[in-house]
């Protein structure tokens, strides 16, 4: 379910070798990436991988130790106000004043971002309709359910119509129905903006994002389009069963096969290179050699396995 993104090629966020320490630990280590208009970039990683720290630095809440952040052409350190005007930020905890009503909260946020009174009210009406908040304007934010609080948080980030949205775990703590709604909203928002969202849920990335970045201990271990990650998934292995198996060496000699595992009982797992299709050659060889093939199953590594492989640095995900 990919978003039909409008690729204008306009770079909205450029991050160069961003680093940040927390005491002794290197929370973010020389991370570089770019975000373009129309992209929804999913930040994926285990808890403590440095996702939130990176996002806090992008939002200007936390100062980086080293590196450069350009938001819509403005350097976050040199022109902080111009850069921040271009960002809508939803922290892990939606920053809501418990004793304020939804309308007061949104109005304050709009005014903080430089909208005058009339513009604030126009923006509020629009954003409330978009985020499904039309009926809760007079409720205190402290009394809202988690789902509504999250929506107010997103609404708050949208008020000044920023080209860049930074959403830190936007669906955390929501029930599945609410999470679906929020994902649909994010996909819609991502069409004319650049969105960065963080999550530790793979299905969420699959459902929402066009691009993925996987972080592990402060480093980027994978960055690319979602399709590339899917590709890794296809470049997995074949599972075969033979009644008269040849020596393992012979199987390993087959074209594009990189490694052979003997599973016992005449079953083997053949690892092959990415994008290769060795089944045809295998069939021919099995016929010629009289191996008596009784099983041929392409095995796909699940996204989960790829994720674990990337984050834990395992050689194989078994």
């Amino acid at each position: 379910m990919l978003v039909e993104s409008v690729m204008t090629g306009e770079t909205l966020v450029a991050v160069e070798r961003l680093s940040r320490r927390h005491g002794q630990t290197q929370a973010v280590d020389a991370v570089s990436f770019t975000l373009e208009r129309g992209q929804i970039l999913g930040f994926l990683g285990l808890n403590g991988a440095g996702k939130s720290t990176t996002m806090r630095m992008l939002a200007g809440v936390l100062a980086p130790d080293a590196g450069r952040i350009l938001i819509d052409g403005a350097d976050l350190l040199d022109q902080p106000r111009r850069a921040k005007q271009a960002i809508g930020y939803l922290p892990e905890q939606p920053p809501l004043y418990r004793e304020s009503t939804v309308d007061e909260q949104l109005c304050y946020s709009a005014r903080l971002h430089g909208l005058d009174r009339a513009a604030s009210h126009r923006a509020m009406a629009q954003v409330k309709a978009r985020c499904g908040l039309a009926n809760v304007g007079q409720r205190l934010t402290g009394n809202l359910s988690k789902g509504y609080r999250q929506r107010v948080g997103i609404a708050q980030a949208l008020l000044h119509d920023p080209p860049v949205l930074i959403l830190d775990e936007p669906t955390a703590g929501l029930d599945p129905v609410q999470a679906r709604e929020i994902r649909a909203l994010i996909r819609e928002l991502g069409r004319e903006r650049g969105v960065i969202l963080s999550t530790h849920l793979l299905p969420e990335v699959q459902a929402t994002c066009s691009h993925v970045q996987i972080m592990q201990s402060g480093r980027l271990v994978f960055a690319g389009a979602l399709a590339e990650l899917q590709q890794r998934r296809q470049s997995a292995c074949l599972r075969i069963g033979l009644n008269a198996p040849p020596p393992v060496v012979e199987l390993a000699r087959l074209p594009t096969i990189t490694r052979v595992e003997n599973l016992g009982g005449g079953q083997f797992r053949l690892h092959h290179a990415a994008g290769a299709a060795p089944a045809r050659a295998l069939l021919d060889q099995a016929h010629v050699g009289g191996w008596d093939l009784w099983e041929l199953t392409p095995e796909r590594a699940s996204l989960e396995q790829i994720f674990v492989e990337l984050t834990l640095g395992w050689e194989t995900a078994e």
Binding site: A59, P91, Q93, Y108, L112
Partner: protein
């Protein structure tokens, strides 16, 4: 931008039961003291009439009342300023301010002006009581205004100190305690000071001492400058602290 932040802060104070309770309690205590002072003045009227340059009602009622009001500010300020930044740090709403296109100085000044407006309205309430005396006596307007100026400057100083200490901790009650301790230290710093240059320094540092001349109707630039410097110093420290929060994380 400063106005937007100040307005929210002021609104928040007027919505909180704490602020109203504080206003009610201080007003009640001051009313009690006011009545005692008026009563004393009534009783002493016969003796005062015999004196040549007898002190008037402004000296005998208004000045002592304002002296007590200064103590009331010492109690009010920490409790009103404790939540300014500590609550925002605790609940994470500070992120909204830090990620908004606003300067640290605008955030600090906004919050400061918000709480100061509230404190000044408390001072105005305190001033209403002596004003009722005008029904039956003539007040020395100059002395009254000087006294009010003193209280306002004192309020500005206390609010600035409270604002700074509230930015240092995420626990409002810790901020309140620290502010009260700091202000009390500045209050009694001249106690026990004898003579000599060191004592003069301690005397100069004392917060209420600069109010003494103002209560007598004497507006000296030295005293006004002291309070302004005190406030500006703490506001500067708060701005620095806010920038530091970004570095520290």
């Amino acid at each position: 931008m400063i106005r937007v932040i100040a307005a929210r802060e002021l609104r928040g104070l007027f919505l909180s039961p704490l602020a109203w309770t504080l206003l009610a309690v201080t007003e009640a205590l001051l009313a009690w003291i006011f009545l005692i002072l008026v009563n004393d003045f009534q009783n002493a009227r016969g003796r005062l009439a015999a004196l040549e340059h007898a002190p008037g009602v402004t000296d005998l009622v208004v000045a002592p009342l304002f002296r007590v009001a200064a103590w009331a500010l010492l109690l009010l300020a920490p409790l009103l300023t404790m939540r300014l930044f500590s609550e925002e740090q605790r609940t994470g709403t500070l992120d909204l301010l830090l990620s908004a296109p606003v300067r640290a100085s605008q955030i600090v000044l906004g919050k400061y002006l918000g709480v100061l407006t509230f404190l000044l309205s408390a001072v105005a309430l305190m001033a209403l009581m002596p004003l009722t005396l005008m029904a039956g006596a003539t007040l020395d307007g100059g002395k009254l205004l000087a006294g009010l100026l003193g209280l306002s400057l004192l309020a500005a100083s206390c609010a600035a100190a409270g604002l700074y200490l509230s930015s240092l901790t995420a626990q409002p009650i810790v901020a309140a305690t620290a502010t009260f301790g700091l202000l009390l230290a500045f209050w009694i710093v001249d106690v026990g000071a004898g003579r000599g240059t060191a004592s003069e320094l301690f005397g100069y540092l004392s917060l209420p001492r600069h109010n003494d001349a103002l209560l007598l109707g004497l507006v000296r630039s030295e005293d006004v400058a002291y309070y302004l410097l005190f406030s500006v110093a703490f506001l500067g420290l708060t701005i620095r602290r806010l920038d530091n929060l970004r570095l520290r994380g």
